[in-house]
């Protein structure tokens, strides 16, 4: 039984964005049309979701000040601060 989706607000580099409760951080970003949120250390190439289940660590992002969190694993919550290179 699906209830009507609850809305939450997350901050993408301090810009408030509406999202549906229960989504992963990766899903919130992809829903905003953002496919990459960090660049690689050596070649500066964009990266976002890849394995989607926590194995590859490609989707690392800073959440509430904590760096290197997996966007595919973390559930977005109201007022969460998500910081990344969204122009990656």
């Amino acid at each position: 039984m699906s209830n009507p989706p609850q809305r939450i607000t997350v901050n993408l580099n301090a810009t408030p964005v509406q999202a549906e409760a229960g989504q992963s951080v990766g899903a919130v970003l992809m829903g905003q049309g953002i496919k990459a949120w960090r660049t690689t250390r050596n070649e500066g190439k964009p990266r976002g979701l890849f394995c989607g289940i926590g194995a590859c660590y490609d989707c690392l992002i800073t959440i509430d000040g904590e760096p290197n969190q997996r966007a595919c694993m973390v559930q977005a919550s109201d007022s969460m601060n998500i910081e990344g290179d969204f122009s990656a």
């Binding site: 039984m1 992809m30 890849f50 394995c51 660590y57 490609d58 904590e66 969190q69 595919c72 990656a88």
Partner: protein, 483 residues
């Protein structure tokens, strides 16, 4: 957790997917005190991944197979939690296992998300690893572009979020798993431009005997045929994606026909434009690091994956360590549940499996073996690679660097390759590139054991998951907080 739970558990179960749930329930229902550790925030594993119960409390299981089995296991799992015999630790990953006096397992834990861990250590007399697996990947030009995902990652995204990661999809690789991924995309409203299967379905013909032993799979096949017809999904066999095209993200794929060896048929290349998500799956890689770190014996399965040896009681070659599900050989959820029940019962009281269960497991193993033989990784998969194709995504090691290290420096196994080129030294610790690096390193070697040795070196990870230095340095101070 209550005071009584500070003593060691009888059985620890790693994973709460099909195998882990069955193992936990079987052990708890035999009176064992059980602890279940799982990376996800709710039970189900990848196969029965579903929307957070906080927003969808009673999921109906649309798009899932065996949902009734899940609901049955889940209600027994929850019942065991409520009577206090089963402790469930979600959002928890095991990063190391040690053995102490009397062979007791000591499991060191880290949070899957966030930075705090309530219970940093658990102890148990018996251990059942049901760690599952993840999509096996083969590098190709453009696979590092955003928009390229694991096929299973797309499915996990849909199951967990109820939304799609993009609009127009190509799903490629090999194996029956590509079918439910495409079906889930279509059911969620996405356009599947093509499913590219490298094998020919006539590969199944020599294996019809094994397939007929598991008639449910034929029904699933018919179901997918209907879904593909309804959504007009092109199922292209003997077809591979030769490169992903795009600037800052995937925008198109080039596909081509291949022969039985996986060699491109000249002139068959064509471009599929307007594609924003590409999903690849070449079977699965079982997560055997923890079992290997305890010394469990391994073998190469029919799909070329390194898996752990288990006997008819799902016992590994390490006393006290039991295994169920993909870690013993990729075979799907029905087999995983059957093995889980056996492993949980064996761990709890040494029980022998019933003859009917043993037969069911054998039938599904035969089916899995037929499936693997019908859907091999193409022998010439690496012909697609250009010099600058990335092999290791984390450390950005190119194909040219890998071949040079092999041909000039003699790096003919994954371990040596790692020390010369840094393949597998990044965040994922070789989980993504390990199979490909093993193949490329051992290429040209005539030694039959080369690939086994190479894959074994990839699976040897004393620390199973990335940690902060702080977590390692606080090992001793964790002792007073032990469960």
């Amino acid at each position: 957790m209550s005071k009584e739970s500070t003593s060691p558990f009888d059985v620890a179960v790693i994973g709460a997917g099909p195998a882990g749930l069955a193992a936990a329930v079987a052990a708890a229902e035999r009176g064992a005190r059980v602890v279940v550790l799982d990376a996800a925030t709710q039970p189900g594993g990848q196969f029965w991944r579903h929307r957070p119960e906080s927003v969808e409390p009673d999921p109906e299981g649309h798009g899932h197979h065996g949902w009734k089995t899940y609901l049955d296991l889940r209600s027994r799992f929850d019942a065991a939690i409520s009577t206090g015999v089963l402790h469930y630790l979600p959002n928890t990953q095991v990063w190391m296992i040690e053995r102490e006096d009397a062979g007791r397992f000591v499991l060191r834990l880290t949070p899957a998300t966030g930075t705090t861990i309530e219970v940093p250590t658990v102890r148990a007399d018996k251990l059942v690893s049901c760690a599952g697996g993840y999509d096996r990947q083969l590098p190709l030009p453009g696979w590092e572009l955003p928009g390229v995902m694991a096929a299973g990652g797309i499915q996990a995204f849909i199951k967990a979020n109820g939304t799609l990661p993009g609009k127009r999809f190509v799903v490629a690789g090999t194996g029956p798993f590509l079918l439910p991924v495409a079906a889930n995309i279509a059911a969620a409203g996405g356009k599947v431009v093509a499913v590219c299967e490298s094998s020919s379905l006539t590969n199944w013909l020599p294996h019809m005997g094994a397939a007929s032993g598991v008639p449910g799979k034929a029904l699933e096949g018919a179901e997918y045929a209907a879904i593909f017809a309804k959504h007009r999904i092109r199922y292209r066999t003997r077809t591979v994606v030769t490169k992903v095209v795009g600037d800052s993200s995937a925008t198109a794929v080039q596909i081509a026909k291949v022969d039985a060896s996986g060699a491109i048929i000249p002139g068959s290349e064509r471009l599929l434009e307007d594609v924003d998500i590409v999903g690849f799956g070449w079977g699965f890689t079982p997560q055997i690091e923890l079992a290997v770190s305890l010394g469990a014996e391994t073998r190469i399965d029919a799909d070329g994956s390194l898996v752990c040896v288990a006997d008819e009681k799902q016992s590994s070659t390490v006393p006290g360590l039991f295994l169920a599900g993909e870690v013993t050989g990729v075979g799907g959820a029905v087999l995983a549940v059957a093995e889980g029940y056996v492993a949980g019962a064996s761990a709890a009281n040494g029980e022998q499996p019933k003859t009917s269960t043993a037969r069911q497991i054998q039938r599904h193993r035969r089916f899995a073996s037929a499936m693997h033989q019908a859907h091999p990784v193409p022998e010439k998969w690496d012909e697609l690679l250009t010099d600058d194709t990335l092999i290791c995504r984390c450390e950005e090691v190119s194909h040219a660097q890998v071949t040079e290290a092999r041909d000039v420096l003699g790096a003919t196994d994954a371990r040596t390759m790692k020390s010369f080129t840094r393949t597998g030294m990044g965040w994922c610790q070789g989980k993504v590139c390990g199979y490909a690096v093993s193949c490329l390193s051992a290429k040209g070697t005539t030694d039959e054991n080369a690939q086994h040795a190479s894959l074994t070196s990839v699976a040897k990870r004393p620390v199973a998951t990335p940690l902060t230095l702080g977590e390692i340095s606080t090992l001793d101070s964790r002792e007073p907080h032990n469960l």
